[in-house]
């Protein structure tokens, strides 16, 4: 479904190369995890896939169901089925959470040639999805992420994912800033969305998220490249021994 080939990315403003030839394929129905030390390029990969400004792709490609993502505007990628759960969800004072989500959903439906969802139907849909994530109605009325706790922000990301039903979900360090209970809630939310038609790319520092969201494939990223790929046992190895051993072995 998601196919990244030989992706090279540098910062637009300076000559700093961050991704140095990433190759990665996520199949529908699978959960891939990317682990790696700070500065390895994990978040950059997620931003580049979602279409954030400030990066320059110098080589390579990234396609979703065969369509080139890197040529699309961010909103077109979203309508094509790509979703990025942000590491730091953005606070937007003055824009109501409900308005935001409904605008987003209807914009995507419009692109796909589907009818707009009425306010009533939307409310029903959101309520149902929010209940599972223990998001109360009050949070829905507040401006997007404003005054939300770290856990609330992450739950709000997963709620958006549940409402928008993307085909390819990228979770950028969704576990950061979460306590054990929130981590469980968020993971349950993600697991509920797992199905045969949907792919996941879960970016994390720590193995503990992968206790809750069990990956099919684990990649280790370092210095702008995927240096090792394996099964869930790879994550356990990292947890036990750190990255140093793996990186040393790769370099040898």
């Amino acid at each position: 479904m998601l196919e990244i080939k030989n992706l090279h990315v540098k910062l637009e403003e300076e000559d700093k190369v961050i991704l140095k030839g990433v190759n990665l394929t996520v199949e529908a129905g699978k959960v891939h995890a990317i682990m790696g030390p700070n500065g390895s390029g994990k978040s950059t990969l997620s931003y580049v896939l979602a279409g954030r400004d400030g990066y320059e792709v110098t080589e390579g490609s990234a396609t979703l169901d065969g369509e080139e993502l890197l040529e699309m505007e961010p909103e077109v990628r979203a309508a094509a089925g790509l979703f990025l759960a942000f590491q730091y969800p953005v606070e937007i004072p003055g824009v109501g959470n409900m308005t935001f989500m409904r605008t987003a959903l209807n914009a995507q439906r419009k692109v796909r040639g589907e009818e707009e969802m009425s306010a009533g139907d939307f409310l029903k849909l959101v309520r149902e999805k929010a209940k599972a994530l223990k998001i109360d109605a009050d949070m829905m009325k507040r401006p997007v992420n404003v005054g939300f706790s770290g856990g609330e922000k992450k739950r709000n990301e997963i709620l958006q994912m549940a409402v928008l039903e993307p085909r390819m979900c990228i979770l950028d360090e969704t576990d950061s800033g979460l306590d054990v209970d929130a981590l469980k809630l968020v993971s349950e939310g993600v697991n509920a969305l797992r199905d045969a038609g949907r792919g996941f790319l879960v970016i994390t520092h720590y193995q503990r998220l992968l206790d809750h969201i069990q990956p099919d494939v684990v990649h280790i990223m370092a210095n702008g490249r995927i240096v090792k790929t394996g099964g869930p046992e790879l994550a356990l190895e990292v947890e036990k021994n750190g990255y140093a051993d793996i990186l040393a072995a790769e370099e040898a």
């Binding site: 979602a50 279409g51 954030r52 400004d53 505007e73 961010p74 909103e75 990628r77 979203a78 309508a79 979703f83 990025l84 942000f86 969800p89 953005v90 606070e91 937007i92 004072p93 003055g94 824009v95 308005t99 935001f100 989500m101 605008t103 987003a104 959903l105 914009a107 995507q108 692109v111 401006p143 997007v144 958006q160 928008l164």
Partner: protein
């Protein structure tokens, strides 16, 4: 009358073509106003409160012509709202287009009507304007008191659920309208006044509002979309104990607008909120000059002014909170912000606080910035198209000002006008 004529050439030229209505109950107030005007003269760029706005187009004897405007089918604001309609065409009252001047708990009259002495209006006409000339001179308000040809006199004695709408039609390219309204909200009474439309090529307006103990006054105004119209408007308000004064103004387009508000909180626990949302694209100069005086104890005032500017538009904010000795427990708030949609637009702000009491909470802030790129990306990453995302963020920026409108139906109308404006002025 001849001896009252000012020596100043500029002023002499300005008023040469105006007829001085020296009869009727307002005559003494008009003579006083003319004397004030003569003493202060017309403003120039060197005057402290005219540094950011050039008064030349208001000083001219003849107005610059302004073509009437085709609104491209948008229709008039507040149209869906049940209201008592008073229509003025180029500053002249149009009885046929207006509703009968009758409403429960309200006395409504016209300034031009030959009624005998209206006691309450005589105590208001030019009175608050004169009080508002200190410490800042407001020559166009004095000019208005002296020469205004029309206006409404509204006295409210109870709760009035139906808004009173003053609708200003602009039909002549060279019209020069001068309206002066007096509104007295009696103790415990509650009224909403709507104002809409460009009024004239050049519009000079004074509204004097006297809110008695526990009275509530709501004012929502949408200034006309005509690109070449010019307006110099003034609100003078005096709010007694536990009284409430709330005013919101939407300004979209207009080559030159100066909106002054002078508000005195004279009784304890009085509240005054003044807010404005201004949208300018290209030839647009908008000036909000606000002066709030706290005299009573435990009073609250809020000034919330937001401007969205592009293609060289200019926004000005001059806002002051004066807390007099003894005005303890004052809660004063002032925010003026601009959203500059490109690098060509200008926002000039002069926030001022002057405090002579020691147990006071006063805050003020002023910012100027572009659309938040991080927020924009977040919205787009969820599928919201660029232009829709920009509009959402612009409306979010304006939200704090629009929140000052209590009536949700009216607020929604204003929001819709803003959305329409944004859709017409996409990049």
């Amino acid at each position: 009358m001849a001896e009252a004529l000012p020596k100043d050439d500029l002023l002499a030229a300005r008023i040469a073509g105006l007829s001085f209505p020296n009869e009727g109950w307002q005559a003494p107030a008009r003579f006083d106003a003319l004397a004030r005007l003569t003493a202060m003269g017309l403003p120039g760029r060197r005057d402290e409160y005219w540094r950011y706005t050039d008064p030349a187009s208001f000083n001219r004897a003849e107005p610059f012509p302004a073509p009437t405007f085709d609104d491209d089918g948008e229709g008039m604001v507040f149209e869906g709202i049940d209201r008592l309609r008073l229509v003025f065409v180029d500053g002249v009252f149009d009885a046929e287009a207006s509703d009968p001047l009758a409403l429960d708990h309200v006395e409504i009259g016209l300034l031009s009507a030959a009624q005998s002495d209206i006691h309450w209006a005589r105590e208001l006409y030019g009175v608050l304007e004169a009080r508002g000339q200190v410490p800042v001179k407001r020559p166009f308000a004095a000019l208005n008191t002296a020469f205004a040809t029309e206006g409404v006199l509204i006295r409210v004695t109870g709760y009035v659920p139906r808004p009173i709408a003053l609708i200003y039609i602009h039909s002549s390219d060279t019209s020069d309208a001068m309206l002066h309204h007096c509104i007295r909200v009696e103790s415990g009474a509650d009224v909403t006044i709507l104002e809409s439309g460009p009024a004239a090529a050049r519009f000079t307006k004074v509204m004097e509002v006297d809110v008695a103990e526990g009275g509530r006054f709501h004012h929502i105004r949408a200034q006309g979309r005509d690109h070449d119209r010019r307006a110099s408007t003034h609100i003078f308000a005096r709010v007694a104990g536990k009284g409430l004064f709330k005013s919101f103004t939407l300004t979209a387009n207009g080559v030159m607008t100066r909106n002054e508000a002078v508000i005195e909180l004279v009784g304890d626990e009085a509240v005054a909120h003044v807010a404005g949302a201004a949208m300018g694209d290209g030839r647009f100069h908008h000036d909000d000059t606000v002066f709030v005086t706290h005299e009573g104890e435990c009073c609250e005032s809020r000034q919330v002014f937001k401007k969205v500017l592009k293609n060289g538009a200019t926004g000005v904010f001059q806002g002051k909170i004066l807390v007099k000795p003894g005005a303890q427990k004052t809660d004063g708030y002032q925010i003026s912000q601009s959203l500059l949609l490109d690098g060509d637009s200008v926002f000039l702000a002069k926030p001022e606080l002057e405090i002579y009491a020691d147990d006071v909470k006063c805050s003020h802030g002023s910012t100027s910035g572009a659309i938040d790129e991080t927020a924009l990306f977040y919205l787009r990453s969820r599928g919201v198209p660029l232009k829709a995302a920009q509009s959402l963020l612009v409306l979010a920026f304006l939200a704090e000002a629009i929140q000052e409108i209590e009536n949700e139906e009216i607020a929604e109308d204003i929001r819709q006008r803003l959305e329409n404006w944004l859709a017409r002025h996409e990049h």
